[in-house]
């Protein structure tokens, strides 16, 4: 019991300078810099489509592409800078599950749109 306790105590003191470097690289990711970069990029990627739509700068397909492009880009920015997907150790199970999930989502969304396009009553 006493041993367990001391082990837990040692774990809790990881925050002390000098001891937490090796620990951080293993479990706790991210730095203030990466969060600030991610936040600023997200702000810009939100502002661009907003300005375009509110001022009617683009129309039709070009606008749709820009909007979806900004959203996907912001998704990637948050995955990298907020969720630290790139820092995952090998084997990269998180990335694999994500790709599988995105594949399923794309199949559902694209498949539904494709099928229902021909179902529209003209």
């Amino acid at each position: 019991m006493a041993q367990r306790h001391s082990a837990a105590g040692a774990h809790d003191s990881h925050g002390t300078p000098g001891t937490h470097d090796s620990h951080d690289s293993h479990e706790a990711h991210g730095s203030l810099k990466s969060y600030v970069i991610g936040f600023l990029m997200s702000l810009v990627l939100t502002a661009i489509p907003l300005i375009v739509v509110l001022n009617h700068l683009l129309e039709g397909k070009a606008a749709t592409l820009l909007l979806l492009g900004s959203a996907v880009l912001q998704f990637v920015v948050q995955l990298v800078y907020f969720m630290h997907l790139k820092e995952e150790g090998k084997p990269r199970y998180n990335l694999m599950v994500l790709i599988l999930g995105l594949f399923i989502v794309l199949t559902i969304v694209a498949g539904s749109i494709w099928i229902m396009t021909y179902n529209k009553v003209a």
Partner: protein
């Protein structure tokens, strides 16, 4: 000898917490699929207003824009909470979690205000396929944020009682991941439902 055993036990505990993080990640991906089906439904039903009000007539962008930046900022502050935790700063951690929760609460109150207004203007969930799909998609996201708020408060209480240890550390990491995920979903709601709706 004793040190060795401790190190070993610690490593095993660490692996278990890492595995739990992984399990939560898998849940998030399945949640992603749930939202994918709701987005597909929305896109397919988009425009079917049955003679009722359309989205471009009723959407009011100022409130939605505020919601977007509030949620984005709260995603950032939940990251700052994790940073404080990694430095072993419990006060900073709880402080940033409180900021995150307050931003989340203002997001939800703006959303509820919007829904009430829409219903008053004649766009309820039963009005048309368009609005059924709208309330289901946006409402499911709002429900996720609300659950996240309750959960975050529970974690703050646990942090107050037990401090930062390997279990609460994992819990904070998980809620922060969940919060980032909700912001990502909102980006797509904002783009596909609102921006493309008023375009």
């Amino acid at each position: 000898m004793a040190d060795n055993r401790n190190a070993h036990a610690h490593e095993g505990h660490h692996d278990l917490e890492a595995l739990r993080m992984m399990g939560f990640w898998i849940f998030l991906i399945t949640d992603c699929i749930l939202f994918g089906t709701l987005f597909a439904t929305y896109v397919v039903l988009n425009g079917n207003t049955a003679g009722g009000p359309t989205v471009s007539e009723l959407f009011e962008m100022p409130g939605v824009i505020a919601e977007t930046f509030i949620l984005l900022t709260s995603s950032f502050t939940s990251g700052l909470a994790v940073l404080s935790m990694n430095k072993g700063n419990r006060k900073g951690l709880i402080g940033w979690l409180i900021v995150t929760a307050l931003l989340g609460a203002s997001f939800i109150s703006l959303e509820i205000t919007e829904f009430v207004k829409l219903v008053h203007e004649g766009a309820a969930i039963s009005t048309s396929a368009q609005w059924s799909a709208f309330y289901t998609l946006v409402g499911t996201h709002g429900l996720h944020v609300s659950v996240g708020l309750v959960w975050m408060i529970a974690i703050m209480i646990q942090l107050g009682r037990h401090g930062i240890n390997s279990v609460t550390r994992r819990k904070v990491n998980i809620i922060s991941l969940y919060w980032h995920f909700l912001d990502v979903v909102w980006i797509f709601v904002f783009t596909i439902v609102y921006l493309m709706g008023v375009m």
